[in-house]
């Protein structure tokens, strides 16, 4: 995307019918660190990569509990994400108070999308620079939605956003058809494996990722480091046994550099995710 004369404010259309400021806001989402969501019929797992500014600082919080039955993972401008999470919490608790009943997640995402749309049609505002993966329950079961700065929202079986999310998406694309009937444990494993894809060869440790779960009969909560490490150990260990050389199976997809491509394709066949 290059600078042009139609991109100064959000209320200017380009002759080809594009709003460049909105598209630039969506670019901001792609710069943030990865966030992944997947769902079965009864559970939703949200996972993200913990990126810290420097070695000295702690990582930013990217997954928020909105209510016992709704959680959100963000990618992009985390400050915008926090503000929107606060809005979502407010909507959820107001509904709960008036109706003593959990706000259906499908209705929450529509409120959120309408709020984002306002910022694309006022000259004194700017779009929110954050993408949100909203996971939650309603009467028909578990749902996962993606809300983008444009004010659009989509429902997904599984999705990934942020930098290097394409690698995770490719992994998810291969497996998503089985997610609907997945057990809770398999869903968590798939989420962590998808996170691993975005790390591009870096050793996967529990300190590098945050995982949260919610489901029917299970309120939203974060998994502790120990639990995550145990899951990592199950497939890292098998990779060690199977390959006998480097601990982690690379198995990169299209995003992998050319020289690794050949080796990666070979590794893919023995990669633990095939189990």
């Amino acid at each position: 995307m290059f600078r042009n004369q139609y991109d100064t404010d959000v209320t200017t259309w380009s002759p080809t019918g594009r709003l460049f400021q909105v598209e630039y806001a969506m670019e901001a989402v792609k710069q943030g660190s990865a966030a992944i969501g997947l769902r079965s019929r009864t559970h939703v797992v949200l996972a993200c990569v913990n990126k810290a500014q420097s070695e000295l600082s702690s990582h930013q919080k990217k997954i928020f509990k909105v209510d016992d039955h709704i959680g959100v993972a963000i990618a992009g401008l985390t400050a915008d994400g926090r503000v929107l999470s606060r809005y979502m919490r407010s909507e959820a608790i107001n509904h709960s108070f008036t109706y003593e009943s959990p706000l259906p997640v499908g209705r929450l995402v529509v409120h959120l999308a309408d709020k984002a749309q306002v910022c694309t049609q006022r000259s004194w505002k700017r779009p929110y620079g954050v993408g949100l993966l909203v996971g939650g329950l309603d009467e028909s079961g578990a749902h996962l939605y993606y809300n983008c700065p444009s004010g659009n929202y989509f429902e997904y079986q599984a999705f990934a956003i942020g930098s290097r999310s394409q690698a995770a998406k490719t992994y998810l694309e291969r497996r998503f058809e089985s997610f609907g009937d997945s057990s809770r444990e398999d869903l968590i494993k798939d989420a962590i494996l998808a996170v691993r894809e975005t790390l591009q060869g870096e050793t996967l440790k529990s300190s590098l990722c945050t995982v949260s779960v919610l489901g029917v009969g299970e309120p939203f909560h974060f998994l502790d480091q120990e639990t995550i490490q145990k899951v990592i150990d199950t497939f890292e260990k098998v990779a060690e046994d199977e390959e006998g050389e480097a601990g982690e199976g690379e198995a990169e997809a299209a995003a992998a550099p050319a020289e690794q491509g050949g080796g990666g394709a070979g590794d893919q066949d023995v990669a633990p995710m095939e189990m």
């Binding site: 108070f97 008036t98 109706y99 003593e100 009943s101 259906p104 499908g106 209705r107 529509v110 309603d138 009467e139 028909s140």
Partner: protein, 245 residues
């Protein structure tokens, strides 16, 4: 024909004239509602009278209405306030349906919404002068609750309003049990309504029984109860006090 446009004077805390628009006392009132949970859902009974003080002015008032797919609302107290509440609920149900997303308001949600409305009006010293009974069934679970004009709300297996609290509930406490059949439920309600007919001055002998189950709401046609007045004591009421009437 002349039309009066309603004047909204705002809230009575900031504007003295608004005070004149507060509800001070009820004018046209309905008497008791009695309701019980039974095997398939909830049964509710009410008579069709609307009293204007001590005059039984209106004899065809339906005090029980279906709300959405899953609920039934019965009201005693000021009839015009009941109609106002029906308008609020109409809007609520309409907006819920417009979502068209497979989610729908159940009886619990409607009950809590009404509790909020009643309590907030009470806090502004402008109550809706009703005691409401909300019954319903959703996903196989029966629900029965009550909200008063001051916002007191609770759930129970059997509820009654007004005189029903004093005359019907003792009967229900003794004779209600879980999983009543439809026939037994109706018999129990009729027993309560008969006592109310004898003893509540504002009751009339024209009642309806409404039933709500998973399938939906049905309100019966109005009918009357058989009453018995041939007690010996009524034949010569002044027997023990000659000269009185």
């Amino acid at each position: 024909m002349t039309f009066t446009i309603p004047i909204d004077n705002g809230d009575s805390l900031k504007n003295a004239e608004a005070d004149s628009q507060r509800t001070l006392y009820p004018y046209v009132t309905g008497t008791s509602i009695v309701a019980i949970k039974y095997k398939d859902g909830v049964l509710m009974a009410s008579d069709m009278g609307g009293s204007y003080g001590s005059t039984l002015r209106y004899k065809n008032i339906e005090r029980m209405k279906a709300i959405g797919k899953h609920s039934l609302l019965g009201a005693s107290g000021e009839i015009s306030d009941f109609q106002e509440i029906l308008r609020y609920l109409d809007e609520l149900v309409l907006n819920d349906n417009m979502w068209d997303d497979g989610n729908s308001l159940g009886p619990k949600e409607v009950h809590n919404y009404l509790t909020r409305v009643m309590y907030n009006r009470r806090n502004k010293f402008n109550p809706l002068w009703n005691t409401l009974v909300l019954g319903g069934v959703k996903n196989g679970e029966s629900y029965l609750g009550m909200v008063s004009m001051i916002g007191v709300s609770f759930e129970d297996n059997h509820v009654a309003t007004g005189f029903g609290n004093h005359l019907a509930r003792p009967i229900l406490r003794d004779e209600w049990h879980a999983d009543l059949s439809f026939e037994d439920g109706v018999k129990l309600l009729e027993k309560c309504m008969r006592v109310l007919l004898y003893r509540d001055r504002s009751a009339i002998n024209k009642l309806q029984i409404a039933k709500i189950t998973e399938e939906g709401v049905t309100v019966s046609q109005p009918y009357s109860l058989k009453t018995f007045w041939e007690f010996k004591a009524f034949h010569n009421p002044t027997a023990g006090a000659e000269g009185s009437w």
